[in-house]
Symmetry: C2
Subunit: 173 residues, 2 copies
């Protein structure tokens, strides 16, 4: 099973402001930036509870009827009509194996804490970061502490008219 991260961040590496808002991502406007193409290649999502609680009340549910697993030991606050949402818990390895056993082939991992815990266990294969050309100074970092340096390999690189730079790294295991 393959795992990928696909995320927008400020040029100084924040995926959200300290209060969780991410208005600054809209500096890139509505330009297509490959999300739909990426999303078409995944067959399940795994996201942290905090990320779920951010997307849950939004008017639009972005994930259609693709299974969304929320990494949490609590009950879910609800789920949008027509969505397929279920909680999962355990260590990152346990969650990974459980999703693999269900036959998923490509899982989209989202949410800073979930990404960090999976990355630190060597359970992330690809990271696509779309850097928005703005410095916001503080907020929630995509990356966190690592037990050891994590080597990356540049897989893909693209610039967009808004000044957004999209970098895809493969994680060297």
């Amino acid at each position: 099973m393959k795992t990928s991260v696909f995320v927008g961040a400020s040029a100084d590496g924040f995926i959200a402001r300290p209060d969780g808002s991410f208005d600054f991502l809209s500096a890139a406007g509505d330009e297509p930036h490959g999300f739909e193409e990426f999303f078409a290649t995944v067959d399940a999502l795994l996201m942290g509870r905090k990320t779920f609680e951010v997307v849950l009340p939004m008017e639009q549910w972005f994930y259609g009827d693709k299974p969304v697993f929320v990494y949490t030991s609590s009950e879910l606050a609800g789920k949008p009509e027509g969505s397929v949402v279920a909680p999962v818990s355990g260590t990152p390895s346990e969650v990974f194996r459980s999703l693999e056993k269900r036959g998923f082939e490509h899982v989209y991992v989202d949410g800073a804490m979930t990404v960090q815990s999976f990355l630190n266990e060597g359970l992330i294969d690809h990271i696509t970061v779309s850097l928005i050309p703005v410095l916001i100074g503080e907020g929630i970092s995509l990356f966190g502490k690592v037990p050891n340096d994590i080597r990356l390999e540049l897989a893909h690189f693209k610039e967009y008219p808004s000044g957004m730079v999209q970098i895809t790294y493969d994680v060297t295991r």
Copy 2:
């Protein structure tokens, strides 16, 4: 007078480890990455005291006989033979004006704290960051808190065989 930053950083945005070391930058090997071409365009350097104290004991003095101004209110610990080094102090604006008065046209600003204080006063024009494909988890960030969002414009980007990605932003004033 124009000011530019030219710096290497890990993919998670650190220019040095917590102890100031920057061994991870060597993951890019010795490949030429435009530093010499950039350096040829500057007629003076401004660096923070900490950065000066890192480069001072190195075997090689990188800056030839170009004037190096060290942003500090203390005495300098020394200077390499043949180098042109002088302390400067005051607010970022005062230092900027003082360098401008001396007739410099393009100043290379280096050191996280100095870059941040100049950036926050709107005194940086161009930022070139060479992202090394490695996550180190913690260290000294190139960027820091900002009083307001700082908009950037993508001016240039380039990928290198090592997987290094070099991005040049113009700072929108």
